[in-house]
Structure formats: structure tokens, C-alpha cells
Symmetry: C2
Subunit: 358 residues, 2 copies
């Protein structure tokens, strides 16, 4: 989600981390787990996934206070075989559950070649690319699927919102090129983009949403009168359905009518399901060869002849790499509305406010 930065201050990731960790400690999360969550949330902001970083903190704290999330989870392997594991997140913060699951997948893929780890009784875990990218440092490919935490998508042709924007992320390493990282919702627009348009008083383009008569819905303030549209019509509906069956139903996690709208509900556990697959490149071919092939392909794509008016071919992940390069140096842009929300949260929790408001 892009947020206007013109009037924003910039804060370093370390400041965000300290503030986030302090907030979680006040609601009963252990210091070490609070730090783990804070690191992952701040990393989301640094990577340019602002809609999944510190922006979510007030909501996370509200749901913990409402009793919807377990602050002392016993995150554990419930089932296991050579190429898979099923993690029971015990309703802990999704970041903790999915870090645990991804580390397990990486560990298992070292010997099994490929390992698929599912998770149930988890919660919102931030951006999909956060977990898909973790195996990359181990010369592995990461593939992540999740059930979203609010249903904004009906079956194709239907009106009952039984599906979420169920995302997919895939990340893999290049040699000199940055990792190729796809992170996408199966809807044309993620719901966060609709909320941003509403906040800014802007209209949405046709194709993002449809009303209950099947007409384009372009006023984001009327978003509750319609629903998101899947990519490619019935194809995106099919992807959202199948990804939800793999990440939710297969793990015994919520799917379909059982999905809890975590934006509207502060008291009900979501039983969020995700899965992460770690694919050990070395099991298939020498890692160096694979990385060279990725680089060659990326170069061919980037150097492709272009449509009139197009001055750059985009490689999945490069927007995030650019954001990271900027933000690691200059800090994360913090728009005034977000700073105000976090100041209010600091007052409520009795923690030191995020400083540096200029």
C-alpha cells in the first residue's frame, strides 16, 4: 500500500522496532517474542509493505486486549513427516507462528530437498513476502500461501463473500541480481488499497470492485456495498479458492464462512491458516548454475523491447528492493495520520512515544 510521504517524517527501523516491542510487552507478550514480532513488522515497513508494518500495531494491540490473540502461545509441531509438518500456532501472533513454520521448513528442506509446512491457529502475519523471502538466504526458494483475514470476495457470479484475497508469494535468489520476489493478492486490488483511496478522498479505477448489481463500484466510501474483483475473472476466483483450500482447509484452519473479519472483530480468534514451502535449490542443480540462469532471464526481460510509452520493465520484487535501499539509509516515511495513531497508542499503553516529529 503506497502512503503519501510528502509531509512524512522518517524514522529508523531500530526506532520502530523498539516502539513496537515496548507496545507488545505492555499487553503481556514476552520481551523476546515482542522483539521478534517487532523486527518482522519493521522489516515489512523497510521493504515497502507499509500496509503490513507498524500501521497494523494499533489493531494488533486492540485484538490482544480484546482477548482474540494468545500472548503466551505454545507454538508446536502437531504432525510431521520427512517432507512436511503441521504447526499449531496456539492462537499466537502470526509473525511468531510463521517464523517458526518457515524455520522448520528450511531445516527440513536441508535433508528432504523440499518441505511443506502448514500452520493453523495462527493470526495475521504481515506481508506474504516476509516468509517467502526467508528461505532465499539459505539458497532455497520460498513459496507462501495464506487465507486472508476478511472475506471481500464472492464466488465468480456470486454475492456471498466467502473468499478472501488469499495471497501467494514466491521468492528466489539471483547471482548478481536481487532476489525475484512475487507477492500478490488474487484480487485486482488488495482491500488495504481501497481503504487508502477512501482516506485520501480519491476514486478507485473501474475493475477494482463491483456492486451487487454487477456494476463497477468506484467510490471507496461505498466499499461495503460491493466486493473486490478477482484477477482474470473466474481464474482469480479459482486461485483464491484453491490457495485457501491449501493454506486453510488442509491445515484445519478457517476458510469460507469460518473466516473472521479481523478488522471488525476484536474478540474472536481467527484460526488463520498459512503454508510455506522451502525448496532447496541444491537438491535440483548446483546453486551457482541456477542463480546464473535467473540472472540471464532477468536481464532478457529487463532489456526487452518495450511498448510505446513504457520506459522500464518491472521485475517482481524490485519495488521492494528500491524501498529497502532507500529506507535502510533514510528511514521509513511515517505519515502524520500514522504518527498520530501511534502517539495515541503510546498514551494508552503508557510507553514512550515515537519521537522525531518535526
Amino acid at each position: 500500500m503506497a502512503i503519501a510521504t510528502s509531509t512524512s517524517v522518517r524514522l529508523g527501523a531500530a526506532q520502530l522496532e523498539a516502539f513496537i516491542a515496548a507496545a507488545f510487552v505492555t499487553v503481556g507478550v514476552s520481551k523476546s517474542e515482542a522483539q521478534t514480532i517487532a523486527q518482522l513488522m519493521a522489516r515489512a515497513d523497510v521493504n515497502g509493505s507499509e500496509g503490513h508494518g507498524i500501521f497494523r500495531l494499533p489493531q494488533y494491540i486492540r485484538r490482544i486486549k480484546g482477548g482474540a490473540v494468545n500472548v503466551k502461545p505454545n507454538i508446536r509441531i502437531e504432525r510431521e513427516a520427512a517432507g512436511m509438518a503441521l504447526v499449531n500456532g496456539d492462537n499466537g501472533m502470526g509473525h511468531l507462528v510463521m517464523k517458526f513454520a518457515t524455520e522448520k521448513a528450511i531445516e527440513k528442506a536441508k535433508t528432504a530437498g523440499v518441505a511443506w509446512v502448514g500452520a493453523k491457529w495462527s493470526n495475521h502475519a504481515g506481508p506474504a513476502s516476509l516468509y517467502a523471502s526467508m528461505p532465499v538466504a539459505h539458497n532455497m526458494i520460498g513459496l507462501y500461501l495464506a487465507v486472508g483475514n476478511a472475506n471481500h470476495l464472492p464466488a465468480w457470479g456470486g454475492l456471498d463473500m466467502l473468499l478472501s484475497t488469499n495471497p501467494i508469494a514466491i521468492a528466489l535468489p539471483g547471482e548478481h541480481e536481487s532476489p525475484v520476489v512475487l507477492d500478490m493478492a488474487t484480487t485486482v486490488a488488495a482491500y488495504g488499497k481501497v481503504k487508502t483511496k477512501a482516506q485520501r478522498g480519491e476514486m478507485m479505477p473501474e475493475g477494482w470492485m463491483m456492486d451487487r448489481q454487477g456494476k463497477p463500484l468506484t467510490d471507496p466510501k461505498r466499499s461495503n456495498e460491493g466486493f473486490l474483483l478477482p484477477i482474470g475473472g473466474y481464474k482469480g476466483y479459482g486461485l483464491a479458492l484453491m490457495f485457501g483450500l491449501l493454506a486453510g482447509t488442509l491445515n484445519g484452519a478457517a476458510m469460507g464462512r469460518d473466516v473472521v473479519d479481523f478488522n471488525a472483530d476484536d474478540t474472536t480468534p481467527t484460526n488463520t491458516g498459512h503454508c510455506i514451502v522451502a525448496i532447496n535449490i541444491e537438491a535440483f542443480q548446483p546453486v551457482a548454475d541456477f542463480k546464473k540462469s535467473v540472472d540471464a532471464l532477468v536481464k532478457d526481460l529487463r532489456n526487452s523491447e518495450r511498448l510505446p510509452g513504457v520506459d522500464h520493465i518491472h521485475i517482481p520484487g524490485e519495488g521492494s528492493h528500491a524501498a529497502r535501499a532507500d529506507r535502510e539509509k533514510n528511514g521509513v516515511p511515517m505519515p502524520p495520520s500514522l504518527m498520530a495513531a501511534l502517539e495515541s497508542l503510546a498514551g494508552e499503553l503508557g510507553i514512550t512515544p515515537l519521537g522525531n516529529k518535526s
Copy 2:
């Protein structure tokens, strides 16, 4: 691909199988392998995937005669670990390679829980759903990806056709409901659909193809002046790219500029890459519970309130189930143009023509 059936005769799967097998034997394929290929090709027709069944026979035979495909392949496991295998198809017919790979994935998933099997030096293998569906009979979920055998898709914003319609198929079982089977190209339309429109003298809807100025291309006879469009714009480009990296590059198979257009070229091996993942449901939860959950979700989707003018909610795979129910009873519709092509092939190969022309 839908083909008009009004003037078509109908032939039983057994007739198609016998004809296909006889054709392959004349070009040097062993009797038992010819029968395996024939069964899979006829199954494609019975399942309603006409564009991937006997329709392809003249092309397959032409490529074997041109030396592009090895009729005596030594299909083998080249690398293996508990959760994966890499199959070298030795440039054999893709049906043989992918049946071998899928059986290997099923066998490994019995103990590993999940098994990912990649294939290189394969060839066109027919519809994606053929292989994704095989694990279902073993109470497993199948997930299949492939690199298409002709590049009709550029990078988003680009003009060089470096990508194919790289499909995904996922299949899983219900209890009383038929299996849910998604089988889709990552482009709005598969290239076969464009060819069908051209054959029928029909125009394409806007959104299928674009010309090199970025304008909609709707005349299928001009298809070589433009390219296919990915679903969801840059998202479908991202999916085609990542699926190609997983099914092609990771396995050491062709991807990007190395993809051979098997429609235009009868002499060059394609080094087609695919992968199949078998997910053993029992490793995650009792199979009966999973199937009940699938049924409940399918019922909720099907019984959903509908948009004005919509009288049925489509569940992925049900078109194929309906085709199968009809064709197992009444035979496969064979349009006159296809019958003529196969009669010509029979003459060329000196085999008994497909009978029953009324």
C-alpha cells in the same frame, strides 16, 4: 477449448485409444508406451480438454518424424531426496515423463507427506489437470506447473515474447462432491482459443490480445502481430514468470529465450519442464474430515446468492466432470475438420482410419 459439436460424430474413448496407439507404434514407440500415451490423450478428450487430446496427434507424429522427440527414452530419476525427485525425461513424450513423475510423487508422498517432483527434457504432456488429478485417487492433492511450449507473452510492458502461458493445475477430492480441479493458463486466453477463433472466422473479445502499439487486437488472423495478455496485468506476468522458474529453470529445463515453439518447429527438442507436487492429506488431518470440509465449502459457494442474470455458480472442474459424464456414455464429439486430419494421418501412416463417419 470448446469445439462445435453440431455436425460432429461421436467416437468412444476405446476407439480413440486404439487409433492413437497404432499411430505411435508406426513411428517407433513401443506398444506398451504407445498405449499409455493413448490412454492419457483419450482421457483428455473425455475430460473435455479437446485442445490437448487426439487433436494434437498429427503434430506429435510430425515432431517424432522430424526427430524432435525420442521414441525410446530412458526416463529416469536423476536426483532424489525424501521430499523431492528430479526426473530426466530423455526427450520422451511428455505423457510418459509426467506419468512417471506423478507416480513417483505419489509414492514418495506416502511416506514423506508431501513430495515435489520436477521434470526436464520432457515434451508437451497434454492438459495440466491430467497430472494434478492423478494423486486424488490416492487421497492426495495434486499441484502441477509447466512451461508452455511456445512463447506468446512478453514481460508486462515489453514486446519480446519471453514467456509462455505457463499453466497451473490443482486438484483435490471432496466426499460426495466431485473433485475440485482448477486448470488454467496464466494468460486471459490460452493460445489454442485464439486458433479456434481464427478457424471459425470469429473475432476475439478485447482483453485476450494486444498489438505492438498496446492497442486491443481482436482479429485472430492477425494474432502473429501481437501477443497474449496475462490475467490481472502485471500479476499474471508475475505468475507466468514464477511458475516458469519453478517448472523450467529449477529443473534445468527450457525457460525464456530457450523455449522452442513446438507449433512451428518439428526438429528441435523442447526440453520442456514441469513439476508435480503430491500432498498426502492424511499427513495433515483425517482424510474424511478434509473431504467433509471441502464438501461444505463447495455447497456454500454453489448455494451463494447470485448476481443478477447469473443462474449458476461454477465450481472449478465441474465443466470437466460434466463433459466426462456425457462422453463416457455418448462418446467424444469429433468435428469434421479433426476427422479429416486424422484420416489423412491414417493414410500417411498406413493404419486403419477411425471409423464411424456418418
